[in-house]
Subunit: 315 residues, 2 copies
Amino acid sequence: MTDIDELLSIRAAELYYEEDKTQDEIGTILRITRWKVGRLLAQAKANGFIRIEIVHPRARRLGLERQLRRATGLVDAIVVSTAGVVDELDLQKRTAQAAADYLSALRPVPRTLGISWGRTLHDISEQLKPGWANGVNVVQINGGVSLNARPGTAAATAVSIAQKGGGQFTLLPSPAILERVETKLAIASDRSVAAVLEMGAGASAYLFSAGQADAGSAHVDSGYLTPDQVDELVRKGAVGDVVGRFIDSAGQIVDPALDERTFGIPLEQLRRAKTAVAVIGGPRKHAIARSVVLSGLCTVLITDEDTAQALIGAA
Amino acid sequence: MTDIDELLSIRAAELYYEEDKTQDEIGTILRITRWKVGRLLAQAKANGFIRIEIVHPRARRLGLERQLRRATGLVDAIVVSTAGVVDELDLQKRTAQAAADYLSALRPVPRTLGISWGRTLHDISEQLKPGWANGVNVVQINGGVSLNARPGTAAATAVSIAQKGGGQFTLLPSPAILERVETKLAIASDRSVAAVLEMGAGASAYLFSAGQADAGSAHVDSGYLTPDQVDELVRKGAVGDVVGRFIDSAGQIVDPALDERTFGIPLEQLRRAKTAVAVIGGPRKHAIARSVVLSGLCTVLITDEDTAQALIGAA
DNA sequence: GCAGATCTTGCTCATATGAGCAGCGGATTA
DNA sequence: TAATCCGCTGCTCATATGAGCAAGATCTGC
């Protein structure tokens, strides 16, 4: 395109998009035919001079969703827009809202929903509308009695999701990580606990998040791990944790001994699941999101625009 | 609008603007009629959820230009977009480009063009295309022999503008500010110098910029004023200078004694001019731009989006 | 300098979109 | 409870826009 045509296309675009003139009127103003105006506008679009953004907390980026599905083979991908986001809290809320929307619209409605716990899941439970489902049974899939801060939040999340969905909840009465393997095996062998794990294993859908491996990990907050222990895991290649289990960028368990002491369904059960919805957003979770997606831990990813971009760039 | 309709309008907007679907197709997807889709899109626009931006160095903001004309009574206003601007240099170049474009398209073509000097005018002279006019006489309207840095830049600007416009140039052979009033009067009374001033007074159009009043003023760089002297002017209410003369926010001369020693046409000549084009952009020039416009020093303002916004908000 | 190739232009025609209007339905009030 | 009103819906019709094509303009290589 010549320089003069480029300038004309910008003038045309101004009149068309800012001034709401018709292509015919623009033609009169710029002394060109209306067909040329149409072509100039098409060129301006093709050259990327026209940027259209949908600014709304619930806006999604369908183009990125498609790219993400294609690049990763995910069954579904939801990408929330970051346009107009003011802070990280805002972004977290948007992501949770999208997850709640997705869950509400999920067909077939899962009879049994296996969930993890954490800040993200808590946010989702808040965004869900009462009546989002008609009798879902919610079951925890990993241990989650918080050792120090806000005890019972994990349970509250499950309760809220179940109640709003008009169904029952089943808690996993165990810490996330036990100190000794023997203790873990002992708890697991308890009949009632085993029943919960079994129910978790048979869930028709899973909803979970993931944590990044750094000092801000929920495991540190909850008192299961010290910052030093997390550092050690990072040194071994950990990028984050999924349902309490730390994995490297290839999706492999980083520390088998620690994993033995971690209570919850094994990752293989997520990998085999027909519907496993991962909700992972925010700038610090790019690496763990990538690992989750590429190692097949989820069939559906709900994330934000920036994370999606990083994933597409890396995949 | 109900909450559900708002959400629908966002979904519709995504499909329309990102996925290039027709309203009819969107209707099928969302299970609503195509007329409802049209209405939802109209609502999304009306609510400001759809943001369209033209990203190009030569993009202008016609809407702001109109508002600016209405708010200030300017004959014309050119507002360059800041979308995609990377640094202040970029913005300066855009503004200069717009000024060059405006000057090239100005009808009737001025026979005699009075110009000031400075970084902005220099940039404009660079952006002008050879042959932008067919015989303009360019005359300097204020003194401008730089005392230390880059001597001759003021002259070079006038020469360049005249040569590219196929015309003659007339320089004003005097410093910007004299040390003593007597010296100024002596120079002014010289027959040849008086002739230049007279030519400047009779110019058919003026093109000038303005400087902010702070340590970064061109007068400090050029050695005419010390930072302390500028501070003193600021204390007296100065917001900046126009053709070398410092004015307050009402457009009044701040320091009459200093002004007596300043060489160039008086501001009243600019105020009486039929065509006086001021080119003032950048975050530090909001105050001086406001003063220039509101005190009637220009009939045309060429500026950037942010400055225009500030002007409209303040006017 | 000329023949062929390619690109641009102005058109016809099909389609997409917006304006305007009648009818329906749910809310409001006497 | 009935009358009235307001706003939403689905339509018709006019207009705006984009696809496709033939003719003209411009470029390229010999």
